[in-house]
């Protein structure tokens, strides 16, 4: 419960936040804090400086321009869940946001925090990869956009370098997209033991598995029928971790089940 000593700054602009992150070794951005503060309570991580992004309203915006839905990194799950922009442009995001943790956590937790912490059991990394999202990152050297598929590097590691800040996540707008998401959780709507996101487009199907590796695993099966999906999962030679909730074998099996269910959901929605 009791944190190590830490320095705290609350910038009033994105520029200032980036300056603070760049100026201090061991500085970390504090987004919703629903992961980071817990990790600090366990003293499993102890950043020297916290740069609090919670007053940066410009990072909370959810907008649609043309065929892109843009979610500010500080958009909360509650915001995403209730956003009419999300509803009309990529409703699966709202559905999945509603499954994350609980009301209080959804009120604080953000899309940016979720992807930047890249806990392999999180919902959003596989979903965003499946949807073909891209992440906009700014640092002292300027701004860059990275496809979600390249964003995640390892457990709790992403391409966001020290001194950089994730600004927003962009998702192709497609109100009637054939998207699906399935998970097996600890208790109802709990932490994921296995999950999978699926996105069917005209000529292909894309499945992304969470929980089975340090980063989301992308599969491109040859068809959308259950057998093709199972073959694709089998062919991926997954080596998922074992823990108290699932052996590697069970988790591998669940990955297949989730993949099939996610695609079934996507198929049903795409009709």
């Amino acid at each position: 419960m009791l944190l190590r000593e830490v320095e705290y700054a609350r910038p009033s602009s994105v520029e200032e936040a980036i300056q603070l992150l760049a100026a201090h070794d061991g500085a970390r951005a504090l987004a919703g804090g629903q992961t980071l503060v817990n990790v600090m309570k366990a003293r499993a991580a102890s950043p020297d400086v916290l740069v609090d992004l919670n007053r940066l309203d410009e990072l909370r915006a959810i907008t649609v321009s043309g065929d892109t839905l843009q979610l500010g990194a500080m958009a909360t799950y509650t915001q995403i869940r209730g956003s009419s922009e999300v509803e009309v442009s990529r409703p699966i995001l709202a559905e999945v946001a509603a499954q994350i943790a609980d009301v209080q956590v959804r009120n604080r937790g953000t899309i940016g925090g979720n992807v930047c912490s890249n806990d392999p059991t999180n919902h959003l990394p596989p979903l965003l990869v499946a949807l073909g999202a891209s992440m906009t990152i700014r640092g002292a050297g300027g701004e860059r956009t990275v496809p979600a598929e390249e964003f995640f590097l390892g457990v709790y590691m992403t391409v966001v370098a020290e001194g950089e800040l994730l600004l927003s996540v962009s998702v192709p707008a497609a109100a009637n997209a054939a998207d699906g998401f399935a998970s097996i959780t600890i208790g109802r709507d709990g932490t994921c033991i296995a999950n999978a996101a699926a996105c069917i487009s005209e000529d292909s199907v894309r499945i992304v598995l969470g929980c089975v590796d340090a980063v989301p695993v992308v599969l491109t099966p040859t068809g959308t029928d259950d057998d093709s999906i199972r073959r694709a999962v089998d062919g991926a030679n997954l080596e998922p971790p074992s823990d108290v909730h699932a052996s590697a074998e069970y988790r591998r099996h669940l990955a297949g089940v989730c993949a099939v269910r996610a695609v079934q959901q996507a198929r049903a929605r795409g009709r």
Binding site: L2, V244, H245, Y250, V257
Partner: protein
Amino acid sequence: MSTTETTTTAPVELQKGHIGQSIPRKEDKRLVQGQGIFFDDVRRHGMGYVHFVRSPHAHAKIVSIDVAAALALDGVYGTLTGDEVAIQTDPFFEMSTAPGSEIKDYALAVGKTRFMGEPVAAVCASTRELARDAAELVEVEYEQLDVLVDAREAVKDETVMHEDAGTNTVWSGVFDWGDWEAAKAEADQIVTIDELHFHRFSSTPLECSGALVEYEKATGQWTLHCNHQMPGVGAIWMAPALRTGIDKLRFITKDIGGGFGNKICLHPYYVTLCLLSRKLNRPVNWTEWRTDQHTANAHGNERWFHDVEVAVKNDGTMLGFSVKALDDCGAFPRYEPLGCIIWAQVTPGCYAWRNIRVDFTQVTTNKSPVSPNRGYSRMQHLWLTERIIDIVAAELDLDPVELRKRNYVKTEQMPYETPNGCVYDSGDYARCLDMALELIGYDSIEERRTEAAARGKLLGVGIGSTLDSGTNNFGQSQLLNPELQFSGNNEAATVKLDIFGELVVTLGTVPQGQGHETTASQVVADILGCSPDQVHVRPGHDTFFNSHAGFSGTYASQFAVTGLGAVKGATDALRAEMVALAAAVLQCEEKQIELADGFARIKDGPPEAALPFMALGAIVNANNAFLPPDFNPTLNHRFVYRPYFGNVDLEKKMGKLTLTYATQIHACVVEIDRETGVVEIVDYAAVDDCGTRIHPQIVEGQVHGATAHAIGAALHEEFVYDEDGQLLTSNFYDYHVPHALDVPALKTAAIESPSPFTPLGSKGMGEGGGGGIHCLCSAIQDALKPVGKPIVYDSCNPSHRVWSMIQDPESTRANVSVVPA
């Protein structure tokens, strides 16, 4: 949704006024406003905060401890290590005979550490954060030792944890009642089960443990603002260890955020706090964090059952069983080996088995110590009896409902003496079962099974029959250790009528949400003829109220008998004095006086022949000159309720081990996703019979709570250790307790079979006997029948275990056999 059908099966002597009504709870107003007073809400000037340095290893020699860096930190008040503890205290009293009695248990680890999280030192500082900073600076050098996490290995003694004992076995003994060999000879079939495992979990009260401890130098007295749920026994452990008298320990509890037995073994922590407060001459606060509680406080007993043999007649009559039980109590016995006998309160479960042999052994392992946990020791044993019933039913192709009804103890047999001399006081198990089955829609179960199968779901129905034995006879401890000077039971209460007519009640009990203030006021109100609003029951326990006895506390399903028995006794005495006083004042005979509506008055007398309670209180306390010299009412009464048990027979290991037996029969319907093993509860019902219900809503609340605990334990909650003795489920992320979406709508019903043995016809009922665990294991096994008929062998069945059973039913089936006798 709840349906309550109440039927009284025997006359109740006490006239019902407020008793039997669900009046608003007295506790609620403060609690819903956030005005409850829990131990961590108490502040003292100059108070220091304590943080424990805990062992990261499950088994290691402590080579050295260096506190210098911690002490050097600004704001640190001081430290305490095991070396100091070993000098300043004596080891805690052990209840076992040898070898368990040789175990040395101190407040902090001395010389070696025997479980992950064991406190090896304590640091006190000016803030909570600083105390933790300083604890991180304490340098401890360890030399790791071989680790025992499996009781089946520990019993071999290849590695020994407690050198003084020379063995890992704490206690062992054989219980042999009836004639098992004859039962075997008489049986048509012997069903055998090689191994069953009751897993390790705890009720994890939402408020963790802790205390604010103050030391008064002038008197050598400690005051503990705490959440100990059994201070009477806590003091028996602590005072000798601290080399002081029991009068030097003042326990104060106010509101307690749940206990469930997990707050009984706090004495090692509290002794450390006592030593620190004396050493530093300042009040010290210790707040346990959740991870600490999971890692190093109190788990429920884990138990293995080996070589089970059940003697069955072809018509389904069960003659008895034989089993080897191996109990894992973790690193130190503490409240153990009591668990080696407590189960015997319910030896045959709900069944008329007459021949039972139990070979019981308890061992230590390098895991958290255990303590009583809701359903303590009986739950494990009842799980065995219910597993036996369902496994026998499955193997002999008998109907589990019919098998139960055939073998249940019948209502007309009550009071029923079990093979080991316990007396089941009252009950109607078959009727409760019928009610539970009706609530879950049992009639249409086969149609629903077919319908579920069409959706890819495996539907199963389960039953859990349990007894909640309450009001212990502590004499059963002598069946473990004849030298122990404990027997019987008691509880105290005081009731007084004060100067302005206030009725003030103090309880020896230590409530943690059971509504004692409310139910005590109902009893007092009905005896004195007033409103419960006029009765002020002091919240919590305070040793200085002088209202406690040696077994005081709130544990083991007994308040409705012992606590209210004490309240009734004290109030009866007060009533007699009030009547005598009123007769003296009103110049009439005592028999003419009635107490009603807050008055002592002459029955059918004129309106002026009535004294308000205030007048009685004022006369005795402040206006007594006119009272005759030989008439000295005090209007202040202490009563100690003592149930009668008689002696236990040490030779035959028989006796009345508890006074009352409440019944809970659970039934449920589950659907299992055959692809994933995920279990969903689609119907759930529990039928309770705890005799006369003082406050039906509170009773129903206890049923709900016990059921939720059992659902959590059956599907999710397990303390899992790796081979190095590292606890893998040390927080609420990995140790999943059910939240509101996990618990289905629970249906409840009740009947009342009053106990012939208790002052109010009531029975203790808070623990519920783990009914939901038995019920879910039963339902899962039933649901999995079509996929190879696996046997549910573990009490915890999260989706991965269910999936494994679906994948490989044969390996579970290899565990059982049927041998024609």
